[in-house]
Symmetry: C2
Subunit: 246 residues, 2 copies
């Protein structure tokens, strides 16, 4: 899989992403970035960064999905974040990486050499500002996930995960006044389990249960149809509509 400049990368919303991804936009500081940015591709399953490594770059995901994972010495792992296209990787001002980053699907990253990027950030408050905003978003997402991990049942966890993936990946079925949504799961059952603090068997069982109850439809193991997002949100135990409805 190669680096497609798709509408999925949402060019034009984030200045960093914008410049990184989209060759057709000559944004203000674009020139300054020449020579410090480069692209890298990773195959599904490949590690991108190991926790503790010295970071030499920061960057953003262009396409594919990467995961942030923490591991205990005894092997227990917890995924602590999903990186979707446009998400930023790396901590300006930090030496080492805090978590393992791995490609969950094939991934294209747009990287900036860290030093020059930090200098650029010094000179360009706009970037620092945008980065703060993105970090606050990530913090919100992390904290929302703490509620999922700490208090939700297995079924609610699955529903919450499906809702998140739907929110970021799915398309409304054209022509429908309904809340039908269709998307592909970008994660294995095991990866879902890591994200949800469950075992893969429980994930499998709960997905089967949701299918049996008509909340979702499955074609193969990955292709999901949600006939009515409102039912799914209800299962997620989440009164908020997740941004789907008005």
């Amino acid at each position: 899989m190669n680096a497609p400049v798709t509408s999925q990368s949402r060019c034009g919303d984030c200045p960093i992403r914008h410049r990184a991804v989209c060759a057709r936009c000559n944004a203000d500081e674009l020139d300054e970035l020449d020579g410090i940015k480069y692209y890298r591709t990773y195959e599904a399953g490949q590690p991108i960064i190991w926790s503790g490594d010295v970071m030499t770059f920061v960057g953003s995901v262009v396409s594919g999905i990467a995961s942030l994972t923490q591991t205990m010495e005894d092997g227990r792992t917890q995924m602590v974040g999903l990186l979707l296209p446009s998400d930023f990787v790396g901590r300006p001002g930090r030496e080492g990486a805090a978590y393992d980053v791995a490609a969950t699907t094939d991934v294209v990253m747009c990287c900036f050499r860290k030093k020059p990027f930090e200098e650029l950030m010094e000179r360009t408050p706009h970037i620092a500002h945008r980065l703060l905003e993105m970090t606050l978003d990530e913090l919100d997402a992390a904290r929302e996930w703490m509620l999922v991990l700490g208090r939700k049942t297995a079924r609610e966890k699955i529903a919450s995960l499906l809702a998140i993936i739907a929110r970021r990946d799915a398309t409304l079925t054209p022509g429908g006044a309904t809340n039908r949504m269709v998307f592909d799961l970008p994660l294995t059952r095991e990866a879902m389990a890591d994200y949800l603090g469950l075992t893969l068997e429980t994930v499998s069982r709960q997905i089967s249960a949701l299918r049996k109850d008509g909340i979702i439809e499955l074609e193969g193991k990955r292709h999901v149809t949600v006939p009515d997002m409102r039912l799914l949100m209800e299962e997620a135990g989440d009164d908020s509509d997740g941004g789907f409805l008005g």
Copy 2:
């Protein structure tokens, strides 16, 4: 309890906190802050901000401990963060509050009216920078907590919490070459349960178990002595020393 300017507020480390707390330091932008900052005190248990409220201020904790909590409609709650002295509250650039904030102990806050603070931030990259750094720290802490919530046993959760509180509150027993630490729990059993994704009964039982096993000593319900922090860290399932040792 009134607003003491104690060494606990760690004046001098963070520019924002520095200016907010310490009348004896005339830091560079101190003058500019006059007229936009004020202090507020809250009694233990009192709400500070409700989720969804329009935020009119940002600020930092001067003394006491506040908690960030998320609640589901059916009443299940999960604490998603602890705010200790020097921690920042509020999201520059955001309208509404994302979580409930409440005083866990008596709390003194140093507040800045939001609008002028944001303008100040525009003019002062240093502050934006510092804020980004603090937010990245919070993000790390939140993600570390996701591992605790998702993968640790009740006993490990308790040990992890005690370790965190010790790290930020405790004093090494003077004259000891050992790793003995002494501190007071600033949280009720219920608050601990909310933080750890447990019930208060389980918290109580596990604390009793740790006491029985000699990992901790208790005087009353709140005063804790840890004879050897290394044993506690081991119980936490955490190979890192949490910053205690060399």
